[in-house]
Symmetry: D2
Subunit: 224 residues, 4 copies
């Protein structure tokens, strides 16, 4: 599969948990089909199997540990995610930071299980650093803008340009505060593969319209 262009992070939002997770994933599936944009979802571990079984989109975990077959009570194991059909997982999200050695080990274990790994970073510099450990994609999100009203593209366009120059755009997602078509378009025009979004969809008045606008932003950006 090609690298995803939009990942919708469900976090632990109540309206993206349980059957709500499935409903939102179906909206994602519909918008992906309608626009041709590759859109995945990152769901809570408990929600994974239901979403995988009832949709046909790439489903990601939100985090995993370097846990293998063994005594890792309470950990999220790559073989557990894979067993339930996960396409991959986020790693090192700003709401779930781990040490760099744990990142390296998790990428090793996760790759062996066949997970597609999207490692998150605060800045272009840490993104570049983590890219040395060979995850499949890097998502750069300045944490102070996550969940906010101003997008990284507007507030910190330099981060986007730096990240493309340092990491390469094809395996790069940008996130934090992304809310509309224009935000996405400007990111893609700057060379970024796509976007990582959360509250922009989960908190939207009409998630389907909001996501459709973002998908159109991807297409706008690719047109240049």
């Amino acid at each position: 599969m090609e690298n995803p262009q939009i990942i919708v992070n469900f976090k632990t939002y109540a309206n993206a948990t349980g059957f709500n997770a499935l409903n939102l994933a179906r909206i994602v599936e519909k918008v992906g089909k309608d626009t041709g944009v590759i859109i995945g979802v990152a769901v809570q571990a408990v929600d994974l199997s239901r979403v995988v079984e009832n949709t046909n989109i790439p489903v990601f975990g939100q985090h995993f540990d370097a846990a293998s077959d063994g005594a890792y009570t309470g950990h999220i194991a790559p073989h557990g995610l894979k067993n339930h059909g996960a396409h991959g997982s986020l790693l090192n999200h700003s709401e779930k930071r781990i040490s760099i050695d744990d990142i390296e080990e998790a990428i090793d274990v996760g790759r062996r299980e066949g997970l597609f790994i999207i490692a998150c970073a605060d800045t272009a510099y840490t993104g570049k650093a983590i890219s040395e450990l060979d995850p499949h994609m890097i998502a750069v999100e300045p944490p102070e803008l996550i969940g906010g009203d101003v997008s990284v593209c507007t507030a910190k366009p330099q981060i986007v340009t730096d990240a493309v120059a340092m990491i390469g755009g094809d395996r790069l997602l940008i996130g934090a505060g992304i809310k509309n078509r224009e935000d996405v378009k400007s990111a893609v025009k700057a060379g970024v593969r796509g976007v990582l979004v959360a509250s922009g969809i989960t908190r939207a008045y009409d998630p389907e319209s909001a996501l459709r606008e973002m998908a159109l932003g991807i297409l706008d950006g690719l047109k240049g």
Copy 2:
């Protein structure tokens, strides 16, 4: 429901993951029915919904965070567990330690969601300390004996006696190295409600027999 008498912790053992988790949970269900002993399972978050939907036993998570409806990427939220039918969850297992403030906050959030919370501790003293924060049960497991060949009842009988005296036996589980009927019997005779087991079942040549022996150990112990 009465307090469980045996909890089988599936950890991330491959033979207790995915369909293997369901198979093992069905064995647990069978032994519970046959003996009348209340036996629950603690499964990986990804496995929870399948085990809940296909068995009729109390299913527990192995860990949860003090995460509510919101921006908690990668966390295991009580409302997520509950939504999928979890009866409760372990908390603060020695393989997933958290700070005491996080324990307090997690117990608050978890209780509000209706989870039955079994908080783990290394010693009778930390067990007593955590009991002040009002989880439903306390599981005392000396970590140096977990997964080993000698049970806490044999190696450290004083811990069992102390824990009963300090915490009260009705809400107490004992674990670490418990492998056979005699181990369980001696714990129950000492006043403990039951046992928390993992490798004694998941690594057993014949898990059903192994669990049946432990269940009989519970009944032996109650006879005195």
Copy 3:
């Protein structure tokens, strides 16, 4: 020595670092002598030996690890603190939280080295829990009030009353937002041994006057 009645936490404030730490410690010494109130300071590890050597007050660390003679790079070891003349140390401050097992182990190691241990807690409940692990004193500080303008005595008088009832006043310090004589008096009248203060002194226009007022608050409270 009797239990301290005021501890001034220097944190990493620049005006309480290096020679500024020594100057502030001398002010503390002066106010202690003048009023007869037992006042200690909790200083950065790097500042400890200079303050110990040049004052005659109880000097505390701000944190220590359960590190003994061995391979604990970057840890703060009880034998290191003791070697430089520390009277004791804070432990588990809200700005340096550790797990409950680490608290238990640190108290064990610290007591063996002869440290006087003041364990911090967010609430009366966690304070009670930690008191089971037998530190010398407990300091209860609701973190949302630390560094703020409203004292715990004004904003949450119930916490003070609860903490006295649950933990016992003699080994109890109260902190968070404490700024003046009245705050301290009301805490002591409620049965608390004393107070843990930081910005109320380190950020004061005139630290000596501010501390003197607090010391008088202790005496006021004891008069009833």
Copy 4:
């Protein structure tokens, strides 16, 4: 000052604590003078000021936090280290791991305070990753060999070669299990600037001889 060629990490060894720390630092000073090799020491925070005041060698901390002037109880602040004359500090040692964002932030704060920062890593890959965040030097130490009897140069020569190729030898230290002249010589011949040692000195029967041998190993290696 030129990049150091040997750093002796005192950890929390009792025979490298307090006056023992000063004695060992004086031995280091002597060997450095005698051989012309640049040798620094990494001491516990409590020991820093005494060693700085009584020797004339580069003294490093073993860890620091991204803590500035403010409310960071129990943290080791760069301005505290600098105030007491530290030349620099280790960061992210395997016995004190931090997240990659904390590494980035600590390097920023530490550089602003003028610390010379030696960031540690488990492998050539994480070393390369961390080097993107621009510490002054990188120390690569496979943790499974730390404190052991076999040196990284013997057990994993490939790590040394890889690290030189990926990170560049001038700013590279190698560590783990290094005990004698031959170990050091082979590392330097492979292009490494020098070595990070601990138990090889602190646990040696005769620390002065052991260190002298290592210093001669540096000179041997430079001769080729």
